[in-house]
Each structure stands twice: as structure tokens, then as C-alpha cells.
């Protein structure tokens, strides 16, 4: 029996505004507990929320970048539930008239490229944080995060496996970073995701019963949680039972999902229009201003790199897929005027190191500035490409300044041709039989001489000069 999986993602993106969605409280991460709490965030009697325009502008940027419809008039609703970190007893969200509807985004996995449709993206406020393990018999509540603006991005249920779900999440993450609307920091919870998973027999038109997976905060866990859940649902159905529609919690330590029974009864949120808030209207002029000031997006960068800079399609794709990498590329290119060399290093050695360490470029020790220096030193012949590899490894491991590494390790390339000539002469003289063989037509031996000179100079010779000198000597 073959099975088909249907997945939809709800991604919560913390918008990088300075203040909260409905109050002048700060959104700073990691502050002392309960120091960024405004009276509105507390939900004290008599307060009135006032919407932060910047949150709308950021949401609109996302909408425009995904080719979505922007609702210039959008409104707020109350989602009612009780939880200690939700002071008002309801969350203000956009149920009936979200700011963004019907967008799409291109995703790429190893196997294929495809477009995933986005149903809607709406503004809502975040809750505070509950701390369960600090106090005997009590839960502590920190309301610093309460009221922080979130953009909830809801995909259509058309993602077909765990790998695609990860690719979709990554594409959204890079886009919001490019748009400068979210820092994309997963460890700090700036992006969180709920996953709806269902399975059905291949060819079946109707969707199966879905389970909602909560509490997933890394790429790795998205993939693992989905794969676990698919297997679980197939097992359930094959044993003759049926999947229950429910919320399940992913436990990364045990790599399993389990039912959150407590959420079941609360699943009636009794939405209604928030009487405290009037509809927010975005003028044509505001919309045009946002459109005109939209930054260059990955797709546009990719095209420009190919057309104007002459990069290969594959290079342009890798470099434009991350804002940090694109910035490194553009900075180093403008310093050295050798964009192709920069691209070669990013796509080659840097990508290899990223794969080896299994990290994103933002997590590496290599700064854009330091990378720029490395390329500069190659392009001004201070170091050879071969030496550059070892310099890069050092800078990668320890974050050490490239010039510092070159200086302390004495790696500066030998520019003085007379020194190289002397060394080359010595090599030629001490290998008479190889010289004879080369002269009798064994051309391949030329590489042997180059290798010997490089070895003698510990890789510090400029290979081009060595080639020229040896050609002269062996004529």
C-alpha cells in the first residue's frame, strides 16, 4: 500500500519592531524579567491598545515579496483562551480580514523546485513566557514577550514531505531576513512553527484527518517530527484504527510526538471582532512607498549575478540564497573587483566548510570583513590560493584576523623572482635524470618540478612565476 502525505505549516515570525504591536513596551530579547511590560500588555482595566504602524509595513513587505494581495483595510479579532502567560484572557489576532492573503514562494530541495502557496499572513500579538521548573509547585510568568508583534504565515496544505517542509521553512526564513522584517534567530524563538500533518492512500482525493504538531523550533526537528508523525499515522490506520484530530507535542529528546490532551477542550476560541480596535487602513501612498523601497530579493539578485556579473547559474543560486552570503559576496567583490574569484571561494571552500560543520553562514566565525581580506590578499598576490586555504581554515576555526594569520605564520608569498629562480635552479640541478626524461619528451614531468619548488617554498611561491621560471630553465 502506498501513502501520500499532506503537510501545511503555520510559521510565527517575530517582527523586528522596536516596540510592541499595541503598546510602547520594548521588544528587546533577553531583558530582565517583567521590565518591558506596559499597562496595555498587562491588560489592566481601562487601557486601550493602539496599533504600531511599523508592524503593518513589515507585514506588507512580506506580502509584496510573495506576490500576495494586500488588504489595505484590515481588522482585529479576539481569540479567547485562558493561560497564565496571556494576561487579557484573549489574544488579539486577525481572523476575518488579515493584512496579507494569497501569496506564494518558490522552494528548492535536492530533487526539485516548486512553488508553495501561502493562504494568508496575519498580524497578532505574542504571549508571555511561563517558567515551569524554577519554583516548587508554582509556575512563574514573565510578560516581557507579551504583545510582541508576530506575523503568522499559513501555507496551503500542499507540502508533500518532510524535506519540502524544511525547504519551505528555510525559504521563508531567508525571505524575512532579506526583507529585514525578522532576524530569523531560531535559538531566540524569533521563528517558530506548527505543522499540520495528515496521510491518505495514494490517489485518494479527500484529505486524511490531521494532527497538529507544536513546539518545533529547529530545521532538524521539523524533519524528524514530521517523519515520526507520518509513520505513526500510517501505523494507526494500518492497524484498523483511525487518526484522531488533535494537537501533539514533539519531544525532541525521545524523538516522538504525543497527544496534548489539555488542548482538546480549549479548542473553541470563540473569535469575535475586537471592540477596542478600529480597522487599520493603509493608504495608496503608503503602499507605494513600501513597494518602491523594497530591498533586492533573492530571485532578483540571482538574475543580476548571472546577467551583470557573469556568474554561473549554480553559483548565483547558492550565493543569492542567503542574505549574509550575498552581502559577503557583494562586499568582497567591490573591494577586489574580482567577483568571479569571490564566487569561487564562496561556492567552493566556504560551502564545503558549511556542509562539513552542518551550519548556516550566520553561525560561522568568519565575518564578512575577514572574508573580504582573504580575497584581497589572494588577489593582490600576498598569498597563493593554496596558502589561502590554510588561512581560511584558521580563520574559520578561530575567527582570527586574516592579516594576523598571514603575519604570524609567515605565509606571505615569495614575490622576489631571483629567490624563486635560485630554488628552481637547485631543484633542476639535483634531479638530472628527471631533467633528461623531460627533455626527451616526458612532458608530464613538468608538474614534478613545479611540485618540488612549491614544496621547497612551503607553498609560498606564486605558481605562475614558478611555471615561467621552470619553462625557461628546462628549455
Amino acid at each position: 500500500m502506498s501513502w501520500e502525505t499532506v503537510i501545511g505549516l503555520e510559521i510565527h515570525v517575530q517582527l523586528s519592531t522596536k516596540s510592541k504591536l499595541f503598546s510602547g513596551g520594548s521588544t528587546e530579547f533577553g531583558a530582565e524579567s517583567n521590565t518591558h511590560v506596559d499597562l496595555v500588555d498587562m491588560g489592566l482595566p481601562g487601557v486601550l491598545p493602539v496599533a504600531n504602524k511599523e508592524a503593518f509595513y513589515k507585514a506588507i513587505r512580506f506580502g509584496l515579496a510573495t506576490g500576495a494581495e494586500i488588504n489595505q483595510e484590515s481588522s482585529f479579532d479576539r481569540k479567547n483562551y485562558f493561560y497564565p502567560d496571556l494576561p487579557k484572557g484573549y489574544q488579539i489576532t486577525q481572523m476575518t480580514k488579515p493584512i496579507v492573503e494569497k501569496g506564494s514562494i518558490k522552494i528548492a530541495t535536492d530533487e526539485s523546485e516548486r512553488v508553495i502557496n501561502i493562504t494568508r499572513a496575519h498580524l497578532e500579538e505574542d504571549a508571555g513566557k511561563s517558567i515551569h521548573d524554577l519554583f516548587e509547585g508554582k509556575t512563574g510568568v514573565d510578560l516581557n514577550r507579551a504583545g510582541t508583534p508576530l506575523l503568522e504565515i499559513v501555507s496551503e496544505p500542499e507540502i508533500s514531505n518532510a524535506k519540502e517542509a524544511v525547504a519551505y521553512f528555510k525559504a521563508i526564513r531567508q525571505l524575512v531576513i532579506f526583507l529585514d522584517i525578522c532576524d530569523g534567530n531560531m535559538a531566540q524563538g524569533s521563528m517558530r512553527c506548527d505543522v499540520n500533518v495528515s496521510v491518505r492512500k495514494s490517489g485518494n482525493k479527500d484529505l486524511g484527518t490531521r494532527a497538529e504538531l507544536k513546539n518545533i523550533n529547529s530545521f532538524k526537528f521539523i524533519e524528524k517530527a514530521i517523519n515520526y508523525e507520518i509513520d505513526r499515522q500510517i501505523r494507526v490506520i494500518e492497524s484498523g484504527e483511525s487518526v484522531v484530530q488533535e494537537t501533539r507535542l514533539y519531544d525532541s529528546e525521545k524523538n516522538e510526538t504525543r497527544s496534548m490532551r489539555s488542548k482538546e477542550e480549549a479548542n473553541d476560541y470563540r473569535y469575535f471582532p475586537c471592540p477596542d480596535l478600529l480597522p487599520v487602513v493603509i493608504s495608496d501612498k503608503e503602499l507605494k512607498d513600501i513597494k518602491d523601497n523594497l530591498p533586492e530579493l533573492p530571485e532578483e539578485k540571482r538574475k543580476r549575478y548571472i546577467k551583470e556579473i557573469g556568474l554561473e547559474e549554480s553559483e548565483a543560486k547558492i550565493i543569492s540564497s542567503s542574505k549574509t552570503m550575498a552581502n559577503m559576496f557583494e562586499d568582497a567583490s567591490s573591494k577586489t573587483n574580482d567577483a568571479k574569484l569571490v564566487a569561487k571561494w564562496l561556492v567552493g571552500d566556504i560551502s564545503a566548510l558549511l556542509n562539513k560543520d552542518n551550519i548556516d553562514i550566520e553561525e560561522s566565525n568568519l565575518t564578512s570583513e575577514n572574508f573580504g581580506k582573504l580575497i584581497e590578499r589572494i588577489s593582490d598576490n600576498t598569498i597563493s590560493g593554496k596558502i589561502a586555504k590554510s588561512v581560511l581554515e584558521d580563520a574559520w576555526e578561530n575567527g582570527t584576523d586574516v592579516d594576523e594569520i598571514i603575519k604570524t605564520k609567515g605565509l606571505v608569498q615569495i614575490q622576489d623572482e631571483s629567490i624563486l629562480e635560485e630554488i628552481a635552479m637547485k631543484i633542476v640541478e639535483s634531479n638530472p635524470s628527471q631533467v633528461a626524461a623531460y627533455k626527451s619528451g616526458k612532458d608530464k614531468l613538468f608538474g614534478f618540478f613545479v611540485g618540488q619548488v612549491m614544496k621547497e617554498t612551503q607553498g609560498k611561491a606564486n605558481p605562475k612565476s614558478v611555471n615561467e621560471i621552470l619553462k625557461k630553465l628546462l628549455k
Binding site: 519592531t17 522596536k18 516596540s19 503598546s23 510602547g24 513596551g25 520594548s26 530582565e32 524579567s33 517583567n34 521590565t35 518591558h36 511590560v37 506596559d38 499597562l39 500588555d41 498587562m42 493602539v50 496599533a51 504600531n52 504602524k53 511599523e54 508592524a55 503593518f56 483595510e73 481588522s75 479567547n80 483562551y81 485562558f82 493561560y83 497564565p84 476575518t96 480580514k97 511561563s130 517558567i131 515551569h132 524554577l134 519554583f135 509547585g137 508554582k138 509556575t139 512563574g140 510568568v141 514573565d142 510578560l143 507535542l249 496534548m260 489539555s262 477542550e265 480549549a266 473553541d268 470563540r270 471582532p273 471592540p275 480596535l277 478600529l278 480597522p279 487599520v280 487602513v281
Partner: protein, 93 residues
């Protein structure tokens, strides 16, 4: 409206209802709904849904931090707190 709906809603709203009043509340709510239901008789096919009776749109804020640190004052007015957190009976998932 029936008893079960009333108990569900009272649970969701965290409102306690005396057992002996349940019957009366069901009756009252039925009356209210019946009264409001008259609105369904009006022909609204050409009318835009009303999100707000004020027919105005919202004033908004610019993205400025205006809040002061009220940690001490806010924790003090809570029924239960320590130096850093509001405290509630343990909630465990």
C-alpha cells in the same frame, strides 16, 4: 441552547454557574438569542459587513518605546509574585 452548551461555555469562560441556576440560564439565553435572531429577518444582501459601529478607521502609533519599567509596581499588585515573576499554580503540560 441546552445544558451541555451552557456548561461548556461556562468552563471556557471560567465562570462558575450554580447547578440549580442552570435551567434558568438556559431559558434566559434562549430568550436573548431569539430576540437577537430577529436581525436575521433583515435583508442584508447589499450591505457590507460592519466591523465597527463608529465608521471610522484607527489612529496608529509610530514604532517608539514609551513604556517605563514598572516591574516592581506590577508585581506588587499581583495576587502572587516573587522578586522576578508573577506566580500562578503550577501549569504542567
Amino acid at each position: 441552547m441546552d445544558k451541555k452548551t451552557v456548561t461548556t461555555i461556562s468552563y471556557l469562560s471560567r465562570l462558575m454557574i450554580d447547578k440549580e441556576k442552570e435551567e434558568k440560564i438556559v431559558q434566559d439565553l434562549d430568550n436573548i438569542i431569539e430576540f437577537v435572531d430577529q436581525l436575521n429577518d433583515a435583508d442584508t444582501s447589499d450591505v457590507e459587513p460592519l466591523t465597527n459601529p463608529l465608521e471610522k478607521t484607527a489612529k496608529t502609533r509610530s514604532d517608539q518605546i514609551t513604556a517605563k519599567n514598572l516591574k516592581k509596581e506590577l508585581l506588587e499588585i499581583a495576587p502572587s509574585s516573587n522578586d522576578d515573576y508573577f506566580l500562578v499554580p503550577r501549569v504542567v503540560e
